[in-house]
Amino acid sequence: MAMPFDKELDVRGAKCPVPVVKARQAVNELQVGQVLRVLATDPGSVNDFKGWAQVAKIVELVAQETETMDGQTVYVHYVKRIG
């Protein structure tokens, strides 16, 4: 399922807390309403992005998907800047 997005962040290989930290830095560069697509391989990132969206007032978690890329399980997070 391809979703539209404005910017992509590839944090494949990175472990906690790097995916969320880098995503936050990338979201800072977005305009309100734009969507960031994050590629992560850390399974913990699925819950981490949910928690982030719950606490942070500036982001909304639009969707999360699991895909296989280059034989690797990749967790794809779509985060929208809302504030």
Binding site: G13, K15, C16, P17, V20, V21, R24, A56
Partner: protein
């Protein structure tokens, strides 16, 4: 007999009663607003305050993981470094001007993040090297990378003045652009924090 309109006398007093009631309600609203303001001021900020007492790699790591994670989640973060934790903040070791015991302490404690040992199985630093090697092989961010991120994200870093005095550590030996404070500066942030930790 005439069914007259209400006498002017009564009309005036009804208006007066209404005005009185409006005045009373206005007073109540003002009091409630003042109370709301007070409650708002007493609510914690979206802040995490952590005391970093340990100078062990395996304890300083979670401090910085929580700090960077919280900053990423949009929270304000304060890290208070005291006692062994001050070793984390050292950029160099100055012996000049130190007393005998202060010199001994300075020589026996690590300088900066790279010199930190682990709290168990350190074996003169081999344990710390093993942990770092494991973290690297599993692509976990190193303590130095986490520190860099924390600085970039505006984490407040405060060194405890009293421990610095006890151990003879000067501000010149510590990272640039950090604050120095006492228990009150920790408590000021802690009382406004949703999360406080001691590591």
């Amino acid at each position: 007999m005439q069914t007259s309109e209400p006498s002017p006398q009564i009309a005036v007093s009804a208006d007066d009663a209404l005005a009185e009631q409006v005045k009373m309600l206005e007073g109540r609203i003002a009091r409630l607003e003042a109370q709301m303001q007070q409650v708002r001021e007493e609510l914690p900020d979206n802040r995490v305050s952590i005391i970093v007492f340990s100078g062990d790699l395996d304890k300083v790591l979670p401090a910085f993981i929580i700090a960077t994670g919280a900053a990423a989640m949009g929270m304000e973060v304060s890290l208070f470094f005291t006692f062994w934790g001050l070793n984390v903040l050292k950029k160099r070791r100055d012996l000049a001007g130190k007393g005998f015991l202060e010199k001994l302490f300075a020589l026996m404690t690590p300088v900066g993040t790279e010199g930190l040992g682990v709290s168990k199985m350190n074996f003169f630093g081999i344990g710390a090297k093993m942990l770092r090697a494991l973290m690297k092989s599993k692509q976990v961010a190193s303590l130095e990378e986490l520190v860099q991120m924390a600085k970039e994200m505006g984490v407040r870093i405060v060194a405890c003045q009293m421990s610095m005095d006890v151990l003879g550590i000067t501000k010149d030996e510590l990272w640039d652009n950090i604050e120095v404070g006492g228990v009150a500066s920790f408590l000021a942030d802690a009382t406004k924090s949703k999360i406080t930790l001691f590591l």
